[in-house]
């Protein structure tokens, strides 16, 4: 019996892996350069920021602003792209759900794995760029990236659980969500200087994404320890979101196949 259980469990892991792989690679199939785009895209993105901000807009300012912008943008992209992809997840996978009783949560694992891999590649491009142009100093503070990434993934996962389940009953959620994301983009310190927050707007740190983005920068750009108060608050909120979202999805998505 234990052998059989481990076989089904392994099958499950393999399936999650295969779905994540497909989700990640499918957008590059049919293009001439294929997966190379996964590297070219962030490379050009950072180059464009570099030229736009150091030569055109903020000519006299700090050229490392490009790093500030890029870390914010990629972290935000991970959140926004995953949640956008999660909205119609049940609809996309309805053929499989209809036929085989797979645990629905597996599709979320695949989605988050695929998007996190993309985020990770962007992060590698960032580190290379940083090392080549800015001679950064890194310390063990970098290890704080792991709890931040964990929190970010949990929060993203939690929001995705809620979105995909609400979408069953409310089909124009995707339009609404892109407006909310737009509001998020401008109210989170992605482009603007996060130091403003500490000048009397600290409540903004209660948004977990804000806390994570601010702390990613503390660590990678300033080589400082993170703001532990808000980081741990963000982690707790994320955990609550993920767990409550999971149960919400589990119990409220039973009729998904009737409505989609």
């Amino acid at each position: 019996m234990p052998i059989k259980i481990s076989k089904t469990f392994r099958n499950r892991l393999e399936r999650i892996y295969l779905f994540a792989k497909t989700d990640y690679f499918v957008r590059y199939y049919g293009s001439k350069l294929g997966v190379l785009w996964a590297f070219l895209n962030p490379f050009f993105q950072i180059m464009i920021y570099y030229f736009a901000f150091s030569y055109l807009i903020f000519r006299k300012n700090d050229p490392s602003f490009v790093l500030y912008l890029f870390t914010g943008v990629i972290t935000w992209q991970f959140f926004s792209e995953t949640t956008k992809g999660s909205i119609n997840l049940f609809q996309k996978q309805r053929y499989i759900l209809q036929n085989i009783g797979l645990p629905k949560v597996d599709f979320f694992w695949s989605l988050i794995a695929s998007k996190f891999w993309g985020y990770f590649i962007n992060f590698v491009i960032f580190l290379i760029f940083d090392l080549v142009f800015f001679n950064p100093v890194f310390s063990l503070n970098l290890l704080y990236l792991f709890p931040i990434w964990l929190g970010l993934s949990l929060f993203t996962l939690g929001v995705s659980f809620y979105l995909s389940t609400f979408y069953i009953y409310l089909r124009d959620l995707d339009h609404l969500w892109s407006i909310i994301l737009m509001a998020g983009f401008w109210t989170i310190p992605i482009i603007w200087d996060y130091k403003i927050i500490y000048q009397g707007y600290e409540f903004m740190m209660l948004n977990p994404i804000t806390a994570f983005i601010v702390n990613v920068r503390q660590i990678t750009l300033n080589n400082e320890a993170p703001d532990l108060k808000y980081l741990s608050f963000g982690l707790v909120v994320s955990l609550i979101f993920a767990i409550s979202g999971y149960f919400f999805m589990k119990f409220k998505s039973k009729k998904a196949l009737e409505f989609l």
Binding site: N11, T22, G30, I96, Q98, N99, R171
Partner: protein
């Protein structure tokens, strides 16, 4: 509950609520103000049924009689109305030809994903890959994206993947007996019998009485969501 029972349905009703409004915010607000125009549709009524392990059970009925809804309830992909009870002993799988291929992927990549969904390990899939492609007679097109396939090619491919599926109870929704040309069908029949029929429970939904007569132990006739008759193929099919 008896151990030799694969699926047990008790007092199964299924009501679909059809909304004449759409599922958008605007139409929700409108229907809230005007009163909603929803209708109820009874798809299944008072179904009690026991299917034994190893049984080859047929379900027949005209279009819209509730066959597919019943299969989805057996598969537990949709819940019955309150008060109904579904007991399933073992892993179920619904096999249908329209199952999900990703059109952007090639036959090989689709085999990888679909076979994994059907319960095979990556190692097994790799070792059986060529066999599956050969069975579907698609050697020349194995690395072509499925979007260029004809519907016949797709259903052959699906069939050759699905015969490797691992489950205890198979729900075949118009799956078997209609794929490909004469030669392929003969081949499909053989593999179908050797892979599936022994030791597995099969629930076979079909319009084709030929296969039902040939294989089924018992047949259920269903009309407008109600069971009309359950019995041997000869008893039931005579009536129709």
């Amino acid at each position: 509950m008896d151990n030799d029972i694969a699926i047990k349905l008790e007092n199964i009703n299924k009501t679909f609520v059809l909304h004449d409004r759409g599922n958008t915010i605007r139409s929700r607000i409108f229907s809230f103000i005007k009163g909603s125009g929803s209708r109820k549709l009874k798809a299944l009524q008072n179904i009690d049924l026991e299917i034994k392990k190893g049984e080859f059970f047929g379900i027949v009925g005209s279009n819209g009689s509730g066959k597919s809804t019943l299969v989805q309830i057996m598969n537990e992909s949709i819940p019955p109305d309150k008060g109904g009870k579904v007991t399933v002993n073992g892993k179920t799988m619904r096999l249908a030809l329209g199952m999900g291929f990703n059109n952007e992927l090639t036959a090989r990549q689709n085999i990888m994903i679909n076979a994994s969904v059907l319960g095979m390990s990556i190692k097994e899939i790799k070792s059986k890959m060529d066999e599956m492609i050969a069975f579907a007679e698609l050697e020349e097109f194995a690395d072509t994206p499925v979007k260029y396939y004809s519907s016949g090619m797709k259903s052959k491919l699906m069939f050759s993947i699905a015969v490797n599926a691992e489950a205890d109870i198979f729900l075949m929704d118009e799956f078997f007996g209609g794929v490909g040309d004469k030669n392929f069908r003969k081949k499909a029949d053989e593999i179908f019998l050797s892979r599936f029929v022994k030791g597995k429970t099969i629930i076979h939904v079909s319009h084709q009485y030929e296969t039902i007569r040939k294989y089924c132990d018992r047949v259920m006739l269903i009309e407008k969501g109600k069971v009309v008759k359950i019995g041997t193929p000869d008893e039931v099919l005579e009536k129709t």
